[in-house]
């Protein structure tokens, strides 16, 4: 089996993991999948309910074309084979938020199957270099591309929402969500680590948003994921047993749940316990998976063809009458699709080749900031500005967002327009490099995303002082206030300048440009320098001369020592290495 051959052996060296996903994607359509009622989220409870949505007797489903088209877009994006005839089926189970007692889905005859999806691995740069796992990267200038086979995509609808009222010991049902369109994407177990899993899901999410299949919601994602995790001994082939972790709501949960599950199963197997087939859930507070039910307890869903819906027919350019209004033409949908995230990245690398490297792009991708980057770029008209923006994004912004962990919050607080304005003003020297950090922090904390840059600058008086005369005055004032530093300048001009600079910055909150102040200050201070030039000379003191005369240690093998491991940091250790390398060579 191909998957086994390529399987990544876990660090313990004895097992490998296989992970498959079942992903429910909430479709971004105006109305529900089988009824005309609105599918808008967060409305007054039970305000979006037609007879069908509450399973009134006599009501019938009617397929929403928009849901089908969204499904076809997903199938094209995931390179699936699209089945031109598929069927809807009823999946029976009793639950209060499923008013009809069944869900309409596509169990036996899905509309799309046998797909393949490529995704870039989102691993931190240093890890990528250090890890032996990913040595198979053939080109350091490209992404690590992995692939996952897609088993099937099916159309189905969502259930209602149960609201458990603990105080009055009752359950309330909101049917607004019932009937909203979903696609379920089922993958093959081609994922082998939580990192791959997360990378896959993030790329999938990007595709789904790009293709307008799901909405980029305020929450992280419109995806709900069930992960099937199974661990196997290195020398065995998978036996189909697996543990299903249900209902993971965020990428982080997916990652943590998989990691926990792998560890748990690894421990069991290491102690020769069997892995039980079971369904588990993930406790987001305790960060562990919890047993829900055994597989044997699973109810029989008694699937049956949905008799109220005719078979689902799809057409392509080869079919007759393909232009009939009520037909859905696969080829027509293909032609209308935007670029995939994959091609889009290629395009960026080409368009911004002057300053954007694969590493940059990878970092933007990892931080989920590609779209933000694109939106900023649209507003900046030259590569120079673009380059500055990229640098600021990947250094200052990343650092104020806790090394990028909260960078999505920044993206929401600071609109691309505001960010582009900041960059433009930075370039025009209206904002200094020093106040930039403060300004970004202020903007990041700000809740009102419509505020203009001007309002920030006005409120906090952050305009750079560019007027020469004024600068001159400020410099003189500082020099007056700090006579000690003038003395210091005579012996150590660098330190003195730094000190003076820091004083002036403190006083004016970074409103002063580095280079300008150094320039002005140096001009002011130079007269002093001329007077006392070379007071601090390069001639060594006698002590220094003595030390330097000693020279480097003699190079000779140490008796009985074959290898030396040097532990340390900084330049010193490098020197040491140079030395010992030769020591070893002598041997």
């Amino acid at each position: 089996m191909a998957a086994t051959a390529a399987a990544t052996i876990l660090s313990s060296g004895r097992f490998y993991a296989l992970i498959g996903f079942e992903i429910h994607v909430k479709l971004a359509t105006n109305s529900k999948m089988f009824s005309a009622s609105s599918a808008a989220p967060a409305q007054k409870t039970n305000s979006q309910v037609t007879p069908f949505d509450m399973a009134l007797p006599g009501s019938l489903p009617y397929l929403n074309r928009a849901c089908l088209e969204a499904g076809v877009r997903a199938a094209v994006g995931l390179n699936c084979q699209i089945n031109k005839i598929s069927h809807f089926e009823r999946k029976h189970y009793f639950y209060p938020d499923s008013p009809s007692g069944y869900q309409i889905t596509q169990q036996r005859y899905p509309f799309a199957s046998d797909g393949l999806f490529h995704y870039p691995l989102l691993v931190k740069k240093d890890k990528l270099k250090a890890s032996t796992k990913y040595k198979f990267v053939d080109n350091p200038n490209s992404f690590v591309i992995k692939q996952c086979r897609i088993e099937r995509i099916q159309l189905e609808h969502d259930t209602g929402r149960s609201i458990h009222d603990e105080y009055q010991n009752r359950t309330l049902i909101d049917l607004n969500r019932f009937g909203t369109g979903l696609i379920e994407i089922v993958t093959k177990p081609d994922i082998q680590s939580s990192l791959e899993g997360e990378s896959f899901l993030r790329e999938l999410n990007r595709l789904l948003i790009k293709y307008n299949i799901c909405e980029q919601s305020g929450l992280e994602t419109a995806l709900r994921v069930d992960a099937n995790v199974s661990l196997h001994r290195k020398d065995t082939t998978p036996d189909g047993s697996r543990v299903e972790v249900k209902n993971l709501g965020s990428f982080m949960d997916v990652r943590q749940a998989i990691d926990f599950e792998i560890k748990r199963q690894e421990q069991l197997l290491a102690n020769n316990y069997p892995i039980q087939k079971e369904t588990r859930t993930y406790d987001t507070n305790k960060h562990q998976t919890v047993h829900l039910r055994r597989k044997e307890d699973q109810i029989d869903y008694r699937f049956m063809i949905e008799p109220n819906l005719p078979p689902l027919f799809l057409y392509d350019d080869n079919d007759k009458n393909v232009n009939r209004k009520d037909f859905v033409n696969i080829d027509h949908i293909k032609r209308s699709l935007p670029m995939t995230p994959f091609d889009e990245r290629k395009q960026y690398l080409d368009k911004y080749k002057d300053f954007l490297t694969v590493e940059h792009l990878h970092e933007l991708l990892r931080l989920d900031m590609i779209d933000y980057f694109r939106d900023v770029m649209i507003q900046l008209d030259n590569n120079h500005l673009g380059h500055i923006a990229l640098e600021v994004l990947l250094s200052d912004v990343k650092s104020i967002s806790y090394d990028g962990r909260k960078i999505r919050k920044f993206a929401q607080a600071v609109s691309p327009t505001l960010f582009a304005d900041i960059i433009k003003n930075l370039e025009k020297r209206i904002i200094t490099r020093f106040s930039l950090y403060t300004l970004l922090t202020l903007c990041n904390k700000n809740r009102d995303s419509t505020r203009t840059l001007k309002s920030f600058l006005d409120e906090h008086n952050m305009y750079a002082i560019n007027d020469e005369n004024e600068l001159e005055k400020l410099c003189l004032k500082i020099l007056e206030e700090n006579p000690k530093q003038i003395d210091r300048y005579k012996t150590n001009p660098k330190k003195a300048l730094e000190q003076l600079h820091s004083n002036i910055c403190k006083k004016h909150h970074g409103r002063i440009h580095d280079d300008l102040i150094f320039e002005t200050m140096t001009i002011r201070l130079n007269p002093f320098l001329h007077l006392f030039r070379r007071c601090h000379s390069t001639t060594s003191t006698p002590h220094q001369q003595a030390m330097m005369a000693r020279g480097l240690p003699k190079r000779a093998p140490i008796e009985g020592v074959r290898h030396i491991i040097a532990v340390g940091s900084g330049k010193g250790i490098c020197n040491l290495f140079d030395l010992f390398n030769e020591v070893i060579l002598y041997e």
């Binding site: 007797p57 006599g58 009501s59 019938l60 009617y62 008799p307």
Partner: protein, 490 residues
């Protein structure tokens, strides 16, 4: 006595319905609303719909906004539909006045129209025996057929001239034959099922009871066609049917098939001779030829029908959980009962044994390990049955089939209570048209020696509804059936 001219059509219908309460044709009425509507219509500019101002009845499984829609079940005894079904709305729009909802078998399961409101009486029993009261009714009243017995009885007795029923395995044709009126089940996909409470979605067809073929055509013209609600409807716009005056001009020679498989042992000699008599009578006219044909899958059709219908019933009935609407048990132990317990009690209390039996069977057939064995196999039989018909129509070149609907006169309610059969042998005559989705018309031919109408049915090719009605019109114009009219007796 008031003459008919001064007495409104609706008032006449109401009077008759109230007078013959013993027939138990209604589950609930909308007399006041109907009178009000009639008044309103008479004030308005009359539109030119031929159905304008006609009082009609609808089976109690059609949703009509703000009225009770019970399906003759305790489960829905208090259910008021918040919407109106497509075809009922179309009838209202063409000026029909709904006088009430008619009695039926619980959720249309059965052939006696005997739900939670008791059985419907066959109107011909009243003609035979006067002075029927509550005490002796079970012995004197005969079964009206089902499941749309209330509608059939009301039309046959001339309380109203048009009524709606629904036909899943013969539920329109069977009571029409028992009561002596026309009962038409059109091709699947011609009439919208939206708002008609489903029994078996893939067999269900709205059906129409009338006392003339013209009324049938007028009603179909008013209600047929796509509605954007029922996805199984034909997407083509409906072309209006021609009325009988137009149809009679047709002089093409008709070939009618007589399926060997429908000549079952149980068919009584009187009913068999009725069929034979009609055949020879029609042959004599020279306009008709008859041909024996074979439908070899017929012996399996009942089994396939039973399995497929049970499956869909089990599925359809799973929405009745007492949470959103319908009966909800009062017998709840707050500390102990789980959701499943409450569900079980609710359903046990409100669904009859017959209904629960079907649900149980359906769920059994749908189990993963049984699905292939029963459901898939039955679908194969269904295709076989459909192919049988296609072959007969295309290869044997018959225009339609002539067949019995029931095999003998109806039994009394008392006798019915004693028997415990759920499916009768007679189903074999009717389920075929449902399995194949074909149009079929039950029409009265003559009155039996015991004084009950004998009906026969014509089954036509898919979507040849108009041609079928045209043939029926030619057949029925060769004799005169003595329609019952209880409004004129007294």
């Amino acid at each position: 006595m008031l003459s008919n001219k001064t007495c409104s059509a609706v008032r006449t219908a109401i009077n008759a319905l109230q007078h013959y309460k013993v027939l138990n044709t209604l589950t609930n009425d909308c007399f006041d609303k109907a009178l009000e509507t009639e008044q309103q219509l008479s004030n308005e500019q009359k539109n030119n719909s031929p159905l304008y101002g006609r009082p009609i009845l609808i089976k109690d499984n059609y949703c009509l906004q703000d009225t009770y829609t019970t399906c003759a079940s305790k489960m829905l005894a208090n259910f008021r539909a918040p919407y109106t079904s497509t075809i009922v709305q179309r009838l209202i729009d063409s000026g029909c006045i709904i006088v009430g909802k008619t009695n039926m078998d619980e959720f249309s399961m059965g052939v006696a129209s005997w739900g939670v409101f008791g059985p419907v009486g066959n109107p011909w029993s009243v003609k035979k025996a006067t002075n029927i009261d509550e005490q002796n009714s079970k012995k004197l009243l005969h079964v009206a057929g089902g499941s749309s017995g209330g509608s059939a009885a009301a039309v046959a007795a001339n309380f109203v001239s048009i009524a709606l029923g629904s036909d899943t395995g013969g539920s329109v044709r069977n009571p029409a034959a028992r009561c002596g009126c026309y009962g038409f089940k059109p091709s699947y996909g011609l009439l919208s099922r939206y708002g008609m409470i489903a029994l078996v979605n893939s067999f269900d067809s709205p059906g129409i009871f009338t006392r003339s073929i013209d009324d049938l055509i007028l009603t179909i013209n008013a209600i047929a066609g796509p509605d954007g609600e029922d996805a199984t409807l034909l997407s083509k716009p409906f072309e209006q049917f021609q009325t009988s005056t137009e149809l009679l001009k047709e002089k093409k020679k008709i070939t009618i098939g007589l399926p060997d498989e429908y000549d079952i042992n149980k068919l009584s000699s009187e009913y068999r001779s009725c069929l034979q008599h009609l055949v020879s009578q029609l042959t004599e006219t020279g306009e008709f030829t008859f041909k024996r044909v074979q439908l070899p899958y017929t012996p399996y059709s009942n089994a396939a029908y039973t399995i497929l219908s049970s499956c869909e019933i089990a599925s359809n009935m799973s929405r009745y959980d007492g949470i959103k609407y319908g009966h909800h048990t009062n017998n709840i132990d707050e500390n102990k009962d789980t959701y499943e317990d409450i569900l079980r009690k609710t359903r046990d209390e409100s669904l009859s044994e017959r209904v629960r039996g079907r649900i149980l069977a359906g769920n059994y057939y749908l189990l993963e390990e049984n699905y292939e064995k029963y459901f898939v196999q039955s679908q194969r039989v269904r295709r076989g049955v459909t192919n049988d018909y296609t072959k007969v129509f295309e290869e044997d070149k018959v225009d339609c089939l002539l067949a019995p609907v029931v095999s003998d006169d109806p039994i009394t309610h008392a006798e019915y209570e004693q028997s415990d059969t759920i499916f009768t042998d007679d189903d074999i005559f009717t389920v075929g048209a449902n399995l194949a989705g074909l149009p079929a018309l039950s029409f009265p031919v003559q009155v039996s020696s015991k004084g009950f109408p004998i009906g026969l049915q014509l089954i036509g090719p898919f979507l040849q509804d108009q041609a079928l009605l045209s043939i029926a019109n030619r057949i029925c114009s060769t004799y005169k059936f003595p329609f019952l009219d209880l409004t004129k007796q007294d």
